[in-house]
């Protein structure tokens, strides 16, 4: 790539890099390995490969029969999928408008977007919960309403970041394309969906992936809004597991494995977008 900035390739330095890589990879391999062993074998011999007599699927059988893994997955997917979709669409529209239009109050709106990044979830959750209780959508038996109660605040929590990232990207697009489309008779609404969205696909994917993961992993909000066993999401399920089955280590290992495997697979395929998305807010463009 850039060989000229390095006169040699010292082998010793690789050792440090590989050692740190081991700290991130090995714990995951360890937990996957042990998810295939009986509980007592984990405690006596956790480094051995789960082969021969050590191998068992009992933990997974127990995980699927005792834990509502599938419904937790479904709930998490519905929540995070909806959040990601809505965030991308409405943040995209706002970013486009803030980028291209001049109008009174624009400065104020821009300040509000940046300020939105400063509000920690701790400082909004109690009034949001009370407001939604007033609407009758928290702690109800209705599955759609419960989903809605967590989706709404999660959307709001991701918007600021999404608008900032998308705006930065839309700014780099040449406005001539939009003008040409306008002369062809497109309205700005059509321009947004037919020109801006397709051209910005990579940054839309980045924002969608970021919002998805953020709400998929967000335990704090799930602790407030998802209380009934059949409505909990995947992170809440793991948290419950600690208090209810705290000593069934085999079951814990298999549950952790079941939760992280899909994320690892998604990460392998989308890592470019994920890394960009998670760091985009930090690096000045």
């Amino acid at each position: 790539m850039k060989p000229e900035r390095r006169d040699s390739d010292p082998k010793g330095l690789y050792i440090i890099l590989i050692l740190w890589a081991l700290t991130t990879i090995y714990p995951i391999i360890w937990v996957i390995m042990n998810s295939f062993k009986a509980k007592d074998k984990i405690l006596s011999n956790s480094f051995a490969l789960p082969t021969g007599d050590l191998f068992t699927l009992a933990n997974y059988r127990k995980a699927f029969s005792n834990l509502s893994i599938f419904s937790a997955y479904r709930n998490s997917l519905v929540i995070s999928g909806t959040v990601a979709l809505v965030v991308v669409v409405i943040a995209g529209m706002a970013a486009y408008a803030l980028c291209r239009y001049e109008f009174p109050g624009k400065k104020l709106l821009e300040t509000l977007v940046v300020a939105g990044m400063m509000f920690p979830v701790f400082a909004t959750i109690i009034p949001v919960y009370r407001m939604e209780t007033g609407w009758g959508i928290t702690n109800t038996e209705s599955w759609p309403l419960t989903m809605l109660s967590i989706i709404l605040p999660s959307i709001a929590g991701n918007l600021s970041f999404a608008i900032i990232v998308l705006r930065r990207y839309i700014q780099t697009l040449p406005v001539e394309l939009e003008e040409a489309a306008y002369l062809e008779g497109c309205s700005t609404l059509q321009i947004f969906f037919k020109i801006i969205v397709p051209l910005c696909k990579p940054s839309f994917v980045t924002v969608a992936v970021f919002s998805f993961l953020w709400s998929y992993n967000d335990l704090f909000t799930q602790m407030f809004f998802l209380r009934r066993p059949e409505m909990i999401g995947i992170t809440r399920l793991l948290n419950e597991l600690t208090s209810q089955e705290g000593t069934n280590y085999g079951l814990m290992a298999s549950a952790v494995t079941l939760v992280i495997i899909p994320v690892i697979i998604v990460y392998i395929f989308l890592q470019k977008y994920i890394i960009k998305g998670m760091t985009a807010g930090a690096v000045k463009g």
Partner: protein, 294 residues
């Protein structure tokens, strides 16, 4: 601006959805929360009752609450750990990667990877690792000849056991930011330094480090504000401030007061304190780690 954006027919449609969401779910609750911290709320989700008497009661209580001081002390420690270990290790790793020829992409992928995994899952994973009888760590030490078991979750180890995983998880985040900064330094600078006979260490010291100063400033400010938001992993590994309420952070203590003690208005006041702390600390960090122009 070209004239196609003079006509603002669709402008409200573009702006209203996003800003309506933020108004209802961010700005309004944010101000309500400040108001709530002066009122009396005993049940989550129930409208606030009367004003506290005196109205600033919660803030007086904050000053006299020993657990607040525990959580502030721990959060302060978390910030220091974040700055030294997260940003520090990330900087060292990024400088090394910048000085070797192979594997940049691989290390980037592998180092970043813990961040995408939910902190709750990592909390469970670390619970298994530090298990007293006997997790990975104690088995490892036993293999190295140690004869007694260590309780990594007792009072003398709890804070380290809680903070190391948090720090470890986010090293990759700062690694990517710093590495991106290093990549943007022009190769010509290194080339001419090499012609002048600068050693590898001199090149790092006099080219790399000064030129990523501003990136490190960004990382430090992010680290400080990020440390205030930590919740998932500590709450999974040490719920309710276990053992004996020594591991509270500001975030976990706010949750504890709101959901476990059911002192909702006090939780609101703690949240206000977290916001103020965030503003003050990011200003302080901005002054200490000032950006430079080159």
């Amino acid at each position: 601006m070209p004239n196609i954006y003079k006509k603002k027919t669709w402008l409200p449609l573009f702006l209203i959805p996003a800003f309506a969401f933020m108004a209802v779910f961010l700005y309004y609750p944010f101000f309500m929360n400040i108001l709530n911290s002066f009122q009396s709320i005993r049940t989550l989700g129930v409208p606030s009752g009367a004003w506290n008497d005196p109205w600033y009661t919660n803030y007086v209580n904050i000053l006299h609450d020993p657990e607040i001081w525990t959580s502030l002390k721990n959060t302060g420690l978390m910030i220091i750990v974040t700055l030294i270990f997260q940003v520090g290790i990330a900087l060292v790793l990024a400088l090394i990667v910048d000085n070797v020829k192979h594997g940049t992409g691989f290390f980037r992928t592998v180092y970043f990877f813990p961040i995408v995994i939910s902190a709750t899952a990592l909390g469970l994973l670390f619970n298994l690792i530090v298990l007293y009888d006997k997790g990975m760590l104690n088995q490892m030490l036993e293999a190295l000849g140690k004869t007694t078991l260590t309780d990594w979750k007792d009072e003398s180890h709890a804070l380290a056991t809680m903070m190391i995983p948090v720090a470890w998880q986010y090293v990759g985040f700062y690694f990517v930011i710093i590495e991106t900064g290093l990549n943007s330094i022009s190769s010509e600078l290194y080339e001419s330094a090499m012609i002048d006979g600068a050693s590898r260490w001199q090149r790092v010291r006099y080219i790399s480090l000064p030129l990523i100063h501003n990136v490190l400033v960004t990382c430090s400010i992010l680290g400080v504000t990020g440390a205030l938001k930590v919740f998932d992993l500590p709450w999974t590994m040490f719920p309710k401030g276990m053992p004996v309420k020594t591991t509270f952070l500001t975030g976990t203590y706010m949750y504890y007061q709101t959901m476990e003690v059911k002192n909702v208005d006090y939780g609101s006041a703690i949240a206000v304190m977290i916001v103020i702390l965030g503003i003050v600390l990011s200003q302080v960090a901005g002054v200490i780690f000032r950006e430079k122009d080159y």
